[in-house]
């Protein structure tokens, strides 16, 4: 597989650290994948053989688990991940129009990363914020009752906080 999406800056020692910490736990693979996904932002293809070896699994088993769960990315995401709830409660409060607006505003579709690497847009099916629909998450922050206008404000503050860094 091409290493264009991350092989370059990927530190294999991180895998060793994660595995050393978690390998003895029952059902360790999910824990290891979460830890790698959290630290690197994704699970690089290069990490799969190392994880498989360390946990005495086949590469196919590791790949199968990665591909099953929406959380585990196989490509490096943008600097901020924007997740937009697409489930019923949010739909009842305008989530379809909001999702259209967000895609147009960012110039990307769900599953894509903006050209400047700032944002990755992901769908999510329920954030448990259904009493404040529609809901989105930007980075670590949950927002409720989001209108297209409020999204634009959230986006500009997210963008300015980045450039001031």
């Amino acid at each position: 597989m091409s290493s264009r999406n991350g092989g370059a800056g990927f530190d294999t020692r991180m895998i060793d650290e994660v595995v050393a910490e978690l390998a003895d736990k029952p059902g360790a693979l999910m824990l290891v994948l979460h830890a790698v996904n959290d630290r690197a932002g994704y699970v690089p293809a290069e990490a799969v053989p190392a994880i498989a070896r360390a946990l005495n699994l086949s590469r196919a088993e590791v790949h199968g688990v990665i591909s099953f769960y929406h959380d585990f990315r196989t490509k490096k995401p943008g600097r901020k991940i924007i997740r937009v709830c697409r489930a019923e409660s949010c739909q009842a409060m305008g989530a379809v129009a909001l999702a259209d607006h967000i895609q147009a505003r960012l110039g990307i579709e769900f599953g894509q990363t903006s050209g400047n690497g700032d944002f990755t847009l992901e769908p999510v099916y329920c954030l448990g914020n259904c009493a404040c629909s529609p809901a989105i998450v930007v980075g670590e922050d949950l927002y409720g009752r989001v209108t297209p206008q409020r999204f634009d404000e959230i986006l500009s503050s997210a963008t300015s906080s980045r450039s001031s860094r």
């Binding site: 029952p26 688990v65 009842a92 099916y125 404040c132 629909s133």
Partner: protein, 536 residues
């Protein structure tokens, strides 16, 4: 004297700016050199008034809401610390009719206490259930749970006492207790509110369960979409360990119970109990064949008691007060209270704990005040994405397991999503199939392939491509999914589809006569249906 001000840490409140409100209050307190302690409580669940700030006064806790950070200076200007008048003043929190009319048992402490303070928990009758459980012993605990009539609050409604008895009577060791905290249904947030607002009650309920069935290891399988719940739970578990409420020697009894959080990874299907077990074991969340049931052979092949967050969180109060107390509430075979969650297009959405049997109309109009948009209610989905849609004229139905089932629906986890008259029900039916396709584990064909075909067939009907033939295909497809799927995802996806078809045929370009094959209880008549009709 220190004045205590409460600002919720609940993630929904935070999503509306509660952190900024707390910060603004802190700054005002600092600049005015006041003696104020800010407690980050859970939410009381009245989200139309979040962020709801409360001040403890001699006359009770006075609520103000909805407060935004920009309102804080004026609150101080109006002396809100003394409970004084302000345009946002709601009065004594406990006396607000929306809250006062509820029967808060499972949610007695949510929004009232500091969720991560063990002292606060104990000061509000926390751990009295565990104390009594230790006094009366395992058999009596299971008898109380059985007597209470509690049925699983996760969605399936299985009698909790029977499950506990089965796990207790299974001799193999070790045994596990697993809490299903993979609350994935759209329109539901009661698990989240317990974990964020009163995490110790979940720990207490799981500890009582572990001691009753003889389990020594517990897991909370928590969805990754709930980082705030993870934070509160992690802190509460650490405190419970350091104070002897968890670990090798619980309260000096010599009994041990270890508890750990395991995170899901965004797969809805892992809320299905056997898929959840696979996931905890580190595999793809593929549904298992049953039997064996998990109580006999579950996690790592060992006897495993699995309950939902709300079920476990309800156990302490019914052990403390006795099973009869709980059983005396509710109707028919649906006993006790249930935390209903009103969401979607509702004017006053939120968490409404009421005796089972309250009507849908009371929840939607009495508590909810109708739609947020002010437009007429057109459709209501009860029981999550796998639940049936109801029409406005059906809202007098009682919210209990049997009454909802009589309409072919499910009570599920108690989620209620309201739609106004702008909703396109053909689109919602298509979405139900689409969601099933996205979230299917892929193990059984009706769910994996049926859901994809379902979206295609609905598109064809709506776009007038051989609608008569395609309606027959959709009917057969729903029938197949319902009866030959391995679990509820494929098996119940036909409910939203069939109810949308039955009650809103015009949205599909169909007439009522076209969908006569769907019975009042959403059963499908497969003989000659969809034939003699007006579709051409």
């Amino acid at each position: 004297m220190t004045t205590v001000v409460y600002v919720p840490r609940d993630s929904s409140a935070v999503s509306l700016g509660a952190d900024a409100v707390a910060e603004a209050i802190r700054k005002e307190v600092q600049s005015r050199k006041l003696d104020v302690k800010i407690v980050r409580n859970g939410s009381r669940g009245m989200f139309s008034h979040e962020s709801m700030v409360e001040v403890a006064t001699k006359g009770g806790r006075i609520a103000y809401g909805p407060v935004a950070a920009g309102d804080v200076a004026s609150l101080f200007g109006a002396n809100f610390l003394d409970g004084r008048e302000h345009v946002l003043r709601l009065g004594i929190a406990d006396e607000i009719p929306w809250l006062k009319s509820q029967t808060r048992l499972t949610f007695a402490r949510a929004g009232v206490t500091d969720p991560v303070s063990l002292d606060d928990f104990i000061a509000h009758r926390g751990y009295l259930g565990l104390e009594r459980a230790l006094e009366i012993g395992a058999d009596a605990v299971i008898a109380e749970v059985t007597k209470s009539g509690l049925r699983g609050r996760g969605g399936a409604g299985f009698p909790t006492g029977i499950k506990w008895k089965t796990a207790a009577d299974t001799p193999a060791m070790p045994k596990y207790v697993v809490c299903n905290a993979d609350e994935g249904d759209s329109g539901t947030f009661s698990d989240r509110m317990i974990m964020e607002g009163d995490p110790f009650v979940l720990i207490e309920g799981m500890t009582i369960a572990a001691l009753a069935v003889g389990a020594t290891q517990g897991y909370i399988y928590l969805r990754s979409e709930y980082p705030h719940a993870r934070g509160a739970l992690t802190e509460a578990i650490a405190t419970a360990y350091s104070t002897g409420y968890l670990g090798a020697n619980i309260l000096g009894t010599g009994k041990s119970f270890e508890l750990e959080i395991r995170l899901g990874a965004g797969a809805y299907i892992c809320g299905e109990e056997t898929a959840m077990l696979e996931s905890i074991e580190g595999r793809r969340g593929m549904v298992r064949f049953k039997p064996p049931i998990p109580a006999l052979e579950g996690l790592f092949g060992k006897p495993t008691l699995i309950n939902n967050v709300v079920s476990f969180a309800t156990v302490p109060i019914l052990i403390e007060r006795g099973g009869e107390f709980f059983r005396d509430l509710g109707v028919g075979n649906s006993r006790g209270t249930m935390p209903f969650q009103l969401a979607g297009n509702a004017k006053r959405p939120g968490l409404i704990e009421a005796p089972i049997g309250v009507t849908l109309r009371e929840i939607i109009y009495g508590y909810g005040g109708g739609t947020a948009s002010g437009r007429p209610v057109r459709a209501v989905q009860v029981g999550g994405p796998l639940g049936a849609y109801f029409t406005e004229s059906m809202l007098d139905v009682a919210l209990d397991f049997e009454s909802i089932a009589a309409h072919g629906g499910i009570l599920g986890h108690g989620g209620i999503v309201v739609f106004d008259d702008t909703v396109d029900m053909a689109r919602m039916a298509r979405y139900a199939m689409e969601f099933c396709a996205i979230e299917s584990c892929g193990k059984c064909t009706p769910c994996r392939i049926g859901s994809i075909r379902g979206t295609e067939v609905i598109d064809d009907i709506v776009n007038r491509r051989r609608p008569r033939e395609n309606l027959e295909v959709l009917r057969d497809l729903c029938d197949t999914m319902k009866f030959s799927s391995l679990c509820a995802l494929g098996g119940l996806t036909p409910l939203p589809v069939l109810s949308a078809l039955k009650y809103f045929p015009e949205d599909f370009g169909l007439a009522a006569s076209d969908v006569e094959f769907i019975g009042a209880d959403l059963t499908i008549s497969t003989s000659g249906a969809g034939s003699s009709n007006a579709i051409a």
